[in-house]
Amino acid sequence: MSEVKLKLGIPGKYEERVVTLPEGEPKPYDADSKLSVVGSRHPRLDGFAKVTGQAKYAHDIRLPDMLYAALLSCPHPHARVKSLDTSAAENMPGVKAVVAAADQHVRFAGQYVAAVAAETLEQAERACRAIKVDYEPLPFVVDLEEARQPGAPKVFDNRDSNVRAADPTERGNLAEGFAAADAVVEATYKTQVQTHACMETHGLVAHWEAPDKLKVWSSTQGTFAARDNLARRFELGAENVEVITEYMGGGFGSKLGLRDFESAAVELARKAGRPVHLMVDRKFEHLSTGNRPNSVQVMKAGCTKDGKVTAWQVDSYGTSGIGGGAGVANPSVYDFPAVRKTSADVYTNAGPGCPMRAPGHPQGIFAVESMMDELAYKIGMDPVEFRRKNNSHPIRDAEFELGMKAIGWERRNQTPGAGPGPLHRGIGVASGRWSNVGERRNSRIQVRVAIHPDGGVEVENGAQDLGTGTRTIVGLLAAEELGLPVEALTVKIGHTSYPYGPASGGSSTAPGLAPTVRKAALLARRRLFEVVAPALQAQPEQLECRDGKITVVSDPGKTMDWKRACGLLGTTPINELATRSDNFDGWQAEAAGVQFAEVEVDVETGRVRVLKVVVVQDCGTVLDRLTAESQVIGAVIQGISYALLEDRILDRTTGVMVNPNLEQYKIAGSWDMPEIEAIMYDAAIGYNNAGVNGLGEPPVTPTAAAIANAVYNAAGLRMRELPITPWRVLAADAARRGGRS
């Protein structure tokens, strides 16, 4: 244990904190850290592989004798499988194995019921069609409101109803809060079901190297979680399962667990005694691989005329299909003195929801920040000022200043919807949050750094890179610590034979790995300095390494280049394994961000165009400014897509999804992209030695709300339901004019 004084906080307002560090912990980055590689704009390390087509995704793995798998899905939203006859399929050309799902009770249209492996994908698909399934269709319900009604068809027989309510929460005195309010707004906000729509669909290649030895190339967000799941599912020792994810085409939360259809492919490989390749098609991806649940948030909130929220009440419900987890982050962002909340999951006969980039947050914050806007306008207060009066987060407060300047906040309409003609422009604001400084405590995470006698350096951790840039930040952090150019290192990730890495969920990859990389690199560097010091007639602690040169700090004439220094190792490489330390008390744990959106609304056609978005986002230490900005920009574009376009549409009479494609399930394209200004807000937060917080999720949380608020500022139309489509805008306009909607 050692104590160290750190300068933490935000520019202009740094404060000194004494923190206690575990033994061997590198001195945490703080405001005084002079970093050369970390924080630079470094192109991602795997860019070359990706632009040349050399990057191999799970879809791309080709093994000798590999078979291709296809899945058969149930067309009914609710049915019992009375019989399933695979004999015809088994005798079809090329077919090598057939398996049926264990669950013979199908609860959503698209659920997997059987799988076939054959010499070619076409043969497997044809054989799937030859499987004879006799279904007993059962009553079903896919509509959220219908499913809540007493007497609605039950999704699970063993439950009293489809509604599973969470315990209500209450703090403060709500009645007093409303009594103290000068203004009260009651409103209901609704959000839709969004699917992850990763460009790479779910898939894997399973190869049984021996009857008790399994190797899987998987498109997964958690190599080790996949390994452990496979080991459990197939009753193997974890040491006999290897999972590899060198590259993956997006996950966004949908690739965190092992799915039944993925197990099926592994089972097919075992049955056939040959490797099996599974890549689900786009339709299956939409139906069965997860989604962001929808929500209805019935709200009432009050504030004083000087802008303090006094009472906040929300009753929310939503459906995660046959899954749970439809809760929303409402309230969030702000602290209110009196809050009452109820929430409920409503089961429907639809594909299960699963974590999706900031679970519960974009939908919750859409309601929270819309309500904040409504209150601000109701008392006639500047919406930013109103938010700042209710905000206690120092980073967010500073971010508002930057954001207002960047968007030109003073250009907003003083009177929403004012002005002649059909085209109206306006500006809206919303705040985002994410309550995670990563893995507070995960001593499973380890990083290995090896320095070889020939000067080569390897940095190893088995975690995967979803496209966020994990590989790159690992390289930058190690390079910084060792004093080498990034290009001199070999970064090895995405393989369970490397030290344990975290699953990428909750924006925890960077905060989980970054401190551990530093620690391992520091240990390795110390070892090398111990070997080199005598040759430079110095003590190890007198040495430093910069740009590949080891130098005695007090006597710069005494120097040795990296390669020669490593030569002193003789035949024994340095091999250091570091374990993730627990977080310590830093300065600020929660990531904050604000977004300003400028839109143009055509009130005659209902068309909304997002013209500009300004993002100010904190993530603690910015590890790679270039890739961090990319992630923030991408989050905004996903947020726009959610706000204006995306909607999983189930036909109510048949329970079947009518848009299971990328034609009618609309994700934002090149034209939908506005000008985006991404400002990374530099804060020294402490908490871990790299001072790093997660970045994947926070910037996607406020975008839809900022856009909806901008539509209000532009057109005077309060859009309380997502997506904000032309017909919803036209209906709102008609309602305002008192006409038919």
Binding site: G606, I649, D651, R652, T653, T654, V658, G669, W671, L730
Partner: protein, 328 residues
Amino acid sequence: MTTPFTYLEPAGLADASRLARQEGAMLKAGGIDLLDEMKEGLVAPEKVVRLSALKGMDRIEVKNGKLRIGALVTLATVAAHKQVREHARILAAAAGQAATPQIRNAATVGGNLCQRPRCWYYRHEDFPCRKKGGDQCFAETGENRYHAIFAADGPCHIVHPSALGTALAALGGQILVFDGQKSRSVAVEQFFALPSVDVTRENVLQPGEIIEAVEIPSAKGKKSAYHKQRERLAADWPLAEVAVVYEVKNGAADGVRLVLGHAAPIPWRCPTAESYLSGKKIDAGAAAEAARLAMAAAAPLAQNEYKVPLFTVLIARALMAAEKGEPA
């Protein structure tokens, strides 16, 4: 999934027509829509007659004041072609805004006119709708936000997807149909057919008949406009589409052709609005009244009522844009 099929290579147009009459045979030009349909399991031809090999059907020429565009000309070519832009600028605009660049590189004029509807019930193999020989229209009471607001008696509520069809109807184009022996010229309005005629088809082509070319009276010097509105800003089907062409005689509109796309199962002409505008100077008031008249007979379904105000605005805007000579 696709069932296996073989390609047939016709020696000429007559041969193609003969091959197309065989049992289980279908015609393919650019292949965009046919391959979609095969992938979706909607059709499973055993033989596919490849028109792309035919000579001379990919030409564009102007003769006797008529623009003739071969059926195998790609949308990308139509969009960029100088003579199309000169004589039928709204056709170039319609072609240039359809689908995506990759699709426009392959999709042909003939294929665009003959493409099947995008109705999500029709396109989904799990829905045995009327158009596929079933006994119900799922859109009637189902998810119908993108469906027709005209021809409410159905028995099918698709909107016709062809962008070229809308523009060609406004231009007064003719479609040259080869029946195996000779060609006949069919006015665009007569080419498309309502579901009440035959719910399983969208046009009057008989088995073995092939679109050879389209012919368009030059609209050079005429007023015209093509407007559409999509949900996503690009690479999306229109929610509403308007094409208008007219001449100006003594300062007033003459021979007005106003056609709506994505409003009905066929490109939808608006005769009441057209005759109202005839002989009038087009100004904001006249445009608004014409739009109102065009929408008077609209009978929207439960979820597509928004199309009525949307078309009303687009029609008025298209008329004003044409009058002012704004770019198509």
